[in-house]
């Protein structure tokens, strides 16, 4: 299981590409799908490499993505 994952608010995305570029482990890529405004939102191309660092969330100017560490109900973290 990867250490972290992201949540993407597809409709807010304007496909600026910041998250794709600045993800340290390159887990994101812009998809071929469209949101209703015609932008290509990102998707996890290499989800197993996500550390949940949330650099994508820090960079995203549209508040459309954030990353987080996967935590279980008992408080432990994944990996």
């Amino acid at each position: 299981m990867p250490k972290g994952t992201v949540e993407i608010h597809v409709e807010r995305c304007k496909a600026c590409g910041f998250c794709v570029e600045f993800c340290p482990t390159k887990v994101l890529a812009l998809s071929t799908a469209f949101n209703s405004k015609g932008y290509h939102p990102p998707y996890l191309i290499a989800p197993e490499k996500c550390s949940g660092c949330d650099l994508c969330g820090m960079y995203c100017p549209d508040f459309a993505i954030f990353g987080y560490r996967i935590k279980f109900p008992d408080g432990s973290e994944a990996a």
Binding site: T5, E7, H9, E11, R12, K14, A15, C16, G17, F18, E21, F22, Y39, D54, L55, G57, M58, Y59, C60, P61, D62, F63, F66, Y68, I70, K71, F72, P73
Partner: protein, 290 residues
């Protein structure tokens, strides 16, 4: 085995009912808001004693998108509004969040006087080197030889070196980062919440639609890469040396961190010296109908 869902750390700070916002794809203003909210969390700022005051322009729209007591005021006059707000309720943490045009052109006079007085205000100056909202006119910060809508043949006005200006005017904290430097920027904003006095952070941000596009400098992502390539972190650099040019190095860092008596302390001390016991510092709360 199940996964605990969490919320985007920035979401509680947003007026979600107003999303998506009006800023262009690749604009860096939203990125500055992420850093700002991260700093509010790290500095443990009491959100019920925080007020955001902005002026007019793209950066000025931040006030309307954050779920805080916020005031979208007139062009150039966020700082005097914020001064009145702070003096009437000194318990408030007052942040002025505005753009380079608003703060340094029409607002220039207020900028230097508030810095001179060392009013306890946190100034977040998003600098996209242009007047963006009105369609890309020249700003006092626009570097030389840049195409804008009011300099269609290229700018020739010398531009402001903002850190130098505000340091000379009296600011006690002066820093500059770009929207590429998300971690350093968050830390800088956290620092100014722990400091009293006139604090100024300049944040270089892309305006891909106007500045970068008209000057064939790519889109927002290209600009972020440009910032990464051209930035040199020089904490403590003399502000006279941090002027910006169209393609040259971008000096970033914390340039000034000093202590001067804050405005209200100066007022208090003077009044105490002259009036002693007769001085009544704060009036009664304005009587309200409930």
């Amino acid at each position: 085995m199940s996964v605990m869902p969490i919320v985007n750390p920035v979401e509680p700070f947003l007026r979600s009912d107003r999303m998506p916002h009006i800023w262009c794809p690749g604009c860096g203003i939203g990125t500055t808001v992420n850093c700002f909210t991260r700093a509010l969390i790290d500095a443990k700022v009491d959100l019920d004693n925080l007020a955001i005051v902005s002026g007019i322009g793209c950066s000025g729209r931040v006030a309307g998108y954050v779920r805080l007591d916020s005031f979208h005021t007139t062009h150039g006059r966020a700082i005097p509004f914020a001064t009145g707000l702070k003096l009437a309720n000194p318990k408030l943490n007052v942040v002025v969040y505005s753009g380079d045009g608003d703060l340094t052109a029409i607002g220039g006079n207020h900028l230097i006087h508030a810095a001179r007085r060392n009013v306890d205000l946190k100034i977040i100056c998003v600098n996209n080197l242009i007047y963006a909202m009105t369609g890309g006119q020249t700003a006092p910060t626009t570097p030389d030889d840049v195409i804008t809508s009011t300099n269609p043949y290229g700018t020739f006005d010398p531009s402001f070196n903002l850190p130098h200006l505000v340091e000379a005017a009296g600011a006690v904290y002066v820093g500059r980062w770009t929207t590429y430097h998300v971690r350093q920027l968050s830390r800088a904003i956290t620092e100014i919440f722990q400091k009293s006095g006139f604090c100024f952070i300049e944040i270089l941000s892309p305006c891909p639609t106007l500045y970068q596009r008209r000057n064939k400098m790519g889109d927002g992502l290209d600009t972020m890469k440009f910032y990464k390539e051209k930035s040199k972190i020089r904490n403590g650099a003399p502000t006279s040396e941090v002027g910006l040019t169209k393609q040259g190095a971008i000096i970033v860092g914390k340039f000034v961190d000093r202590t001067r008596p804050e405005y209200r302390a100066l007022m208090h001390d003077q009044m105490m010296e002259s009036l002693g016991e007769r001085y009544v510092e704060q009036g009664l709360e304005v009587a309200c109908s409930n």
